[in-house]
Amino acid sequence: MSYLATTDFLDDKDFVDRYLYTMRTGNLDLSWMNAATEHVEVQAANKRRGLTFRDLDVGTYGYTELPAISRGASSLAPRGAEEPAGLPDMNAGTVRKADVWAYNIEGYYEEAMSRQWNAATDIPWKQLCETELAEDIGKAYSQLLTFLTEVEMIATDVPSKWLSQISSDYFEVKNFIATQCMDEARHAEVFRKRALTTGYGLMKASPQNERNLKFLREADSFAEASTTLHLQAEGFVLTMFRFSEYLSPTDGDKKLFRLVMQDEARHVGYGMQHLKWHLENAPESREIIHRHLAEAENFIFGGIFAPEVLESFVILAGKGSKHENIRAGVDVVNRFAIQQVEEYFERLDKCGMPERRERSTLWQVIEMAKAGTAANHA
């Protein structure tokens, strides 16, 4: 055991005797009725929306008045409860609000709860199972689905790693992480199931992108992990989902991508609002985030041209594997790659990191690519 309670309750004669006495006599202490907590009676501001975390943002229970640092031992005592002496320390390593909080965190959580969907029943599987795809399209689509199946659950592994390290004072963040883990499990599920209905199954794994996943797992802090996972990686994937919807071979597939997109947009939203909050409240981290992003961009550049990802995209975009299809597909994919990177830098702008562009080699590379594309079209 890595932790033993301060008493063995079965050996604690006073504790057991008190229990037996209570059960024998019915004499209750009832001192908990006088717990020193704030009296509140919240109600839903909007009855249609139900009772939300925002409605609970009152007094010592709320998040608005949360101090910048959760000082002292971090127990499981719910925020606002009376905390008697002797509560154990859960040893949460992340106790600064700046390191986990995001604007609108309560909204992201409630939205996640209200927009859960079911990959088993919300996708028109009958239609998809009856659709026969041409071999080149079918294989390209299966390859794309293989990649998506492979990368989705990194956004489960990484946040869950941090969940137990975050103080329970920030339970809204922990709850949001729980919804994200579920979202990603559903994404892995839906992409896997779709790949297994195409007739081609899962195809080739992507070593270069996997190394990027390893990088995402190994971040030193939650803020760094979130910036590269939520904002950068999921941001790139969000753009990819949007293109995938556009390229989807059937209406059922378009629906699939629309559903995953709304989840992914929420995760990116959290990442952006967290980075914004973090930079505003922990400005000393700016250089650390830059350093982390520099390596993350290196991984992105190394993985973006992995043949098993972009080539399948080219065939889907060109709607086939003939020479003219590939030419058309390359044009679309070049625009897509540029858009992916531009959106990434736009997101950083909005979070208060506009200077990232001038410091980024990735930005320089994409500027050159844009110039090249413009010259070709001229």
């Binding site: 055991m1 719910p78 154990p88 592994d157 969940l163 390596e295 550049f301």
Partner: protein
Amino acid sequence: MSYYAEKYFFEDETTIEANQRLAEGKLVLDWFDVDAEKVRVVPSDFNRGLTYDDCNVGGYGWDAIPENIRRNYSMAARGSVLVPGLPDLGYTLNRKSEVWSNNCAELYEESKSRRWAPAVDIDWEAVRANPLSPPCTHAMRQLCTALLEIALGILEFPGRWVFWINQEFLELKSLHCAQMIDQARHVEVFRKRAMTIGGLGRASVAIEQAVKELISADTYTSGSLSVFLMLNSIVLGLFRTASSASSVDAKMFRLCMQDTARQIAYATGQLRFFLGEHPAKSLVLHEHLDQTEHVMVGILAAPELLEPLIVLAGGGTSAAQVSAGRDKVLAMHRGVIGEYLERLASVGLERRGRTRLEKVFS
């Protein structure tokens, strides 16, 4: 950062050439003819949709997962074509028997189909319209405080392990994600319930000490047994008893019960699978339980949980009400311990006659 790319790709000729090659439309297509297992799964029942059970075919299925995962430490999807260069992501739970349960895919599917949202699925207006008596209101606030502490603890458990579980066990990891959202939902609903009627009460040292010991188990198997089976056996009993407080509470606790019952079903299945593969390890688990079962007393007998439950079960604090409540809670305690021991016995871990719990709850 403790992991960097093996190259600075911006200056790597191979990467730059790959970029140019693609821009010229010269595809490598090394993925196009990989030796993938070709399948076309279909739902066995279109009303139920396409389930993971429908996907349990050939090399893609969980039946094909070997006891020891030796080939894949990456996130490559089970059944996809593995190629050289896939990294080791550091997974430490790579034995099927340590984590698997034959019902995990089914439970995952169930968790999605039974999802609910506390904000809208509980009639919060009815809580205001039909208040509990003052002592029961106090008791409900205190009970919810204790349940919140427990829910926050259980939420941490899957979070602690998912990161280390090999991705080949996809359905199990997905179930853990479902368990996390279930627990988040419990954290949410108990907080909301308390705050509609006055706010939270007092945290409990005994409960938190007990929960911390349970979620800190050294191994996944002993932790799953402690948290999902032992602790949740208590939680299920608490939910059942508290559900009689009002019609709103009946619905709230019923919804919570179905989530918790799934976690118990997983833990029971996991234990069965584990002992089926390693019957000799029952000794290790017995020793673990010999040490940890005391926490059941710590939780059930914690005054911050015991007393409000008696008040709620009896409907108030008069002598007659307390007496009635005490009888119900005593029956619940005996029921919890009895069901817990039965669950263990059903998978081959007979604790009756060995456990110290019977001395207190007989």
